[in-house]
């Protein structure tokens, strides 16, 4: 009987010691990192477009990835609270991230630059980014928009290359030249017919709900293409722009000759019906949903009753799952919608201790 009592006392003592030890271990960590980072995604309706967190353990260097497996460019608009928190390329040596996460942040599609990843059956283009939080109650939102003018301009240039018979995939290496993207947009803005083509193409993609408006916009696109190719003053600028876009891998004279030669055939009008159907079909599939949104925020580790803050996870836009991440853990949240047309993607969380 006495032995039993002694054993019970010893067990209680051990339990107390374990609790005290764990408390002592946790205390310094909490003191060193009074907040943690959460990562969430919403409106990622396509399986081929995703965002995932790579490392949330270090709030001063949060790593995450954007992946685009579609054939459309997406612009990235950043909003932060407080202002000034901006993602940067995760690696200075990453040519793709340093090129496209600059003055005009863009997420490239597949089949444009020779850095597609994945397998032959499922490819994607990746942008690896880093973010530095300096304290709790901070939030950064990245909105991916396929209708932004820079993104649509690059879509239209790809369409023009295809129209002119360019068959090589991933050949737009000129985009990667130092300052090449800015030069390209400067040249594009000088082409009046290209600007109106971009506007009409955007309108066509957005008018997928009514086929008559899509037809009107598609007809306007075809007319813009014909005008762009037949205008002798714009021909030279367009040829120069496309030549630079291809990284000068074909002679500039060949490019100019092709542009000028193609204009005579009036085949540019043949794309009217194609653009209309593309707008009706792809517009419905790809763009019917709200723009995909990635939210990262720093949340205080203190209990909610002690420090009521306006940026609790529930106050965010519309995350489906919002895991809280303890310091010292890595959280990876990947949007995995059940089908390509599913309007509400589900989020699954995988934690690695």
């Amino acid at each position: 009987m006495r032995y039993n009592l002694a054993l019970r006392a010893l067990l209680a003592l051990c339990a107390l010691l374990v609790m005290a030890e764990s408390f002592l271990i946790m205390m310094p960590a909490r003191a060193a990192n009074p907040y943690h980072i959460t990562f969430s995604t919403s409106n990622f309706a396509l399986q081929t477009l995703s965002a995932s967190a790579n490392d949330l353990s270090n709030s001063g260097h949060v790593l995450f990835t954007l992946q685009n497996g579609t054939q459309f460019w997406y612009s990235i608009a950043v909003q932060s609270s407080p202002a000034g928190i901006t993602p940067t390329p995760a690696l200075a040596s990453d040519l793709v991230a340093t090129t496209f996460y600059g003055a005009v942040p863009l997420l490239p599609p597949i089949g444009v630059i020779p850095f597609d990843q994945g397998t032959s059956s499922a490819r994607y283009e990746t942008l690896r980014l880093a973010l530095a939080f300096s304290g709790p109650v901070q939030q950064v939102q990245l909105q991916l928009n396929p209708f932004e003018s820079h993104a649509v301009t690059l879509d239209v240039l790809t369409l023009l290359l295809q129209l002119l018979g360019y068959k090589s995939a991933s050949g737009q290496i000129g985009l990667l030249t130092p300052g090449g993207l800015k030069l390209l947009f400067d040249d594009a803005s000088a082409l009046q017919d290209l600007t109106s083509l971009v506007n009409d193409y955007t309108q066509a993609l957005q008018s997928q709900s009514t086929s008559s408006s899509a037809l009107t916009a598609a007809f306007a696109c075809a007319k813009d293409v014909a005008a762009l190719l037949t205008n002798s003053s714009e021909q030279r600028t367009l040829a120069d722009l496309l030549w630079k876009l291809l990284g000068k891998t074909i002679p500039s004279t060949v490019m100019l000759k092709t542009v000028a030669n193609f204009a005579g055939g009036q085949f540019s009008l043949g794309i009217e019906e194609f653009i209309m159907d593309e707008a009706t079909l792809l517009g419905t599939m790809l763009f019917q949903q709200s723009n995909p949104l990635v939210t990262l925020q720093s949340v205080s580790n203190a209990p909610a009753s002690q420090t009521p803050s306006p940026s609790t996870p529930t106050s965010m836009s519309s995350p489906t799952t919002l895991p809280t991440v303890s310091p010292g853990t890595i959280s990876t949240i990947t949007a995995t919608p059940t089908s390509s047309l599913s309007p509400t993607p589900t989020a699954s969380s995988t934690r690695h201790p």
Binding site: L95, Q162, A169, I173, L176, T177, G247, I250, S252
Partner: protein, 257 residues
């Protein structure tokens, strides 16, 4: 007579071969002239659609549809205007078409409602299309970019690769007309040679049905009235023997055939 057949046989073979060459060379050349383009069929994970969505090719170019959908699925492709329709394309199967008339050919998968659309624009040879750069040129330009440099304007001039066909319409139509005439002549010659061959064979068979030495006797009848001097008679007898041997050889060959 036998030697005559021997020569005719060789002549017949030569004419057949020449006319065959006349027929096949233009066809082979025509096949080499058509460029190849590939249209990938992609599945829901890629996302669904054809890649490239818009393809411009020359008249008579080859367009191969490759089913690379993920997850694997079978597709049937149908053009909107009914110009072409594919059989059911199983995963990793290839279906190739050529379009011989310029125009815009829109097509879709046969699912209802269609979820994948694409278009092939077919232009005449007179319109030049953008060439595909050499891999070496692309790699050189990319290496320069990766080292922080801008490719020089002459990067493409190192190995110019005008893979697109830039044929003038007049010369193109003229040469194709000449090729067609040559093919027709070749086919006609081939038929003529075959006809001659058949006639020759029939005559040979008719002779064989009769006495095997009938022809020799006839020859002898023709030759014997000639009064030849003694040395020439010996020579003539030698020639007759050799002719007999040749004829036997020819008969052996016929038997073997």
């Amino acid at each position: 007579m036998s030697r005559k057949y021997y020569h005719t046989f060789y002549l017949f073979v030569a004419v057949c071969l020449t006319s065959l060459c006349l027929c096949l060379i233009p066809l082979a050349t025509a096949k080499a002239q058509g460029n190849n383009a590939t249209m990938q069929i992609l599945g829901p994970l890629q996302p669904p659609g054809f890649s490239p969505a818009l393809l411009t090719v020359h008249v008579d170019d080859y367009v191969s549809f490759v089913n690379q959908a993920s997850p694997p699925a079978t597709f049937t492709i149908t053009s909107d205007n009914g110009h072409f329709s594919s059989p059911a394309l199983a995963p990793n199967k290839v279906w190739t078409i050529t379009l011989s008339s310029p125009g815009a050919y829109e097509f879709h998968d046969a699912a209802a409602p269609p979820r994948m659309i694409s278009e092939i624009i077919v232009v005449p040879d007179a319109i030049s299309l953008l060439p595909t750069p050499e891999p070496g040129v692309g790699a050189t330009a990319l290496a320069l970019i990766e080292s922080g440099k801008t490719p020089p304007d002459t990067v493409a001039l190192v190995t110019p690769t005008p893979t697109s066909r830039t044929i003038q319409p007049s010369s193109s139509s003229g040469s194709s007309m000449l090729i067609r005439i040559l093919v027709v002549v070749g086919v006609a010659l081939l038929f003529l040679a075959l006809l001659l061959g058949v006639i020759l064979l029939l005559r040979r068979l008719r002779r064989r049905r009769g006495s095997p030495h009938e022809s020799e006797e006839q020859d002898a009848k023709v030759v014997s009235p000639l009064a030849l001097p003694a040395p020439r008679q010996h020579r003539f007898a030698r020639l007759r023997r050799r002719k007999g041997e040749d004829e036997d050889d020819l008969e052996d060959e016929d038997d073997e055939i």
